[in-house]
Symmetry: C3
Subunit: 132 residues, 3 copies
C-alpha cells in the first residue's frame, strides 16, 4: 500500500488544505531532496495548488467552477454527480512538488488543496516520493 | 526513443481508455515500485484520469468541454482546431500514477483516458517510469 | 535552493515560451535519461504545454480563458486578481516532460509556456530532474 493520508470533508464542494499532512509524510519518509507526488484515487475530487492566505480565493474557485459546470445541466450520468467528475478532470488528479532539505518547496502563498466535489465523504490521498 | 503506445482514434472528440496499454508497459519494464508518467506529445489532445465504469461520464465531460470551448468561436488560429488546443491545455499533457507491486495504483473507479480533441488520428503516448 | 529560471513578463496575461530556458537547465544538469518537472511557485500563474508554431493558438487560449473567467465577476477576494488564481488552477502548477539523450522529448509542435495571469511581473520557475 502506498503512503495514504486521510481527508474528511464536510461539504459537497470544499477545498481542504492538506499541505501539513503531506509535509508530515515527507518528514516521516526522510526524503531530503527529490519530488513528491500527491495523488487522488477518487473520480469526483481533484487536487490543486493555490493561495492559502485568503480563504476567499478558494471560495472564488469553487463559485466559478460551479458557474462553469453547474450541478444540474442535462448530464447523462445518472448518479447526479457529473459536475463533480468534470471538475475533477479540470483540476487534475495529482500535483508534483519539489522537496529540498526535507521540506516541500512551495511558493510563499502556495498551499496544496484537496478539491472535494462530491462530499461530504471520507477520502484518501496517496503520497509518493522519489529521491533526486 | 521513449516507450511509445499507439492510440487510434475514430472520432473528432473522444476519450479512449488506455489504462491496460499503460499497465502492459509497466509490466514489460518490470518496475515494481515507483511512478509512471503518461505523456501526450500532441497539442490537440490531452490526458485525464476519471471514471471508467459508466461511459456517460466521458460523454458528459466531452459535452461540457464543447459547451465551454465551442469548435467555432471567433478564434484567430486558422486551422479550425483552436478549441482542440484549448481543451488540451485544460485537461493537461500528462498524468502521473503510482506503481506498487508492478501495478498502477488507481482508485476503484479510475481509468486513464486519452483525450482526443481533433481526431480521428493515429496518435501516440509516451510512458516513462521511475523506481522509487 | 532548487534550479531556478527567471521569467520577466510584460503584460497582465501572457504565455511565455520557456522551452529553451528549461532545455538549458537539462543540459547544465547533465541528465541524459529521465524526467524533468517544471514547477511554478506562484499562485496567479500556471504552466502548460501547447503549440508554439502559430502565436494565434496562445492568443486563443488567453481569450477563451478570459471569457470563461473574466477579470471582474463578483469575486470575494479583494486583490482584484481572483481570475488569475482561478486560471492558474485550471492550467496547473507544473508540467512533467521526458528527457532522453539529454534533451526534452517534446512533440513536433509542443513548447512549454509559462502562463502569466497577473503581470507584468518578475517571476521564477523551478526545474527538477530525476534520472530514470
Amino acid at each position: 500500500m502506498p503512503i495514504t493520508v486521510s481527508v474528511k470533508t464536510i461539504a459537497r464542494v470544499e477545498l481542504v488544505d492538506v499541505t501539513y499532512l503531506v509535509q508530515q509524510e515527507v518528514e516521516k519518509a526522510g526524503v531530503k531532496d527529490g519530488l513528491c507526488v500527491v495523488y487522488v484515487p477518487h473520480t469526483t475530487s481533484g487536487i490543486t495548488i493555490n493561495e492559502g492566505a485568503d480563504p476567499a480565493v478558494c471560495s472564488d474557485i469553487i463559485k466559478k467552477l460551479k458557474q462553469l459546470v453547474p450541478p444540474h445541466d442535462g448530464y447523462r450520468h445518472m448518479e447526479g454527480n457529473s459536475d463533480s467528475h468534470i471538475k475533477a478532470s479540470i483540476m487534475g488528479s495529482s500535483v508534483t512538488v519539489l522537496v529540498e532539505g526535507g521540506r516541500l518547496v512551495l511558493g510563499t502563498w502556495q498551499k496544496i488543496f484537496y478539491c472535494e466535489f462530491d462530499g461530504p465523504r471520507s477520502r484518501k490521498v496517496f503520497v509518493k516520493m522519489v529521491n533526486c
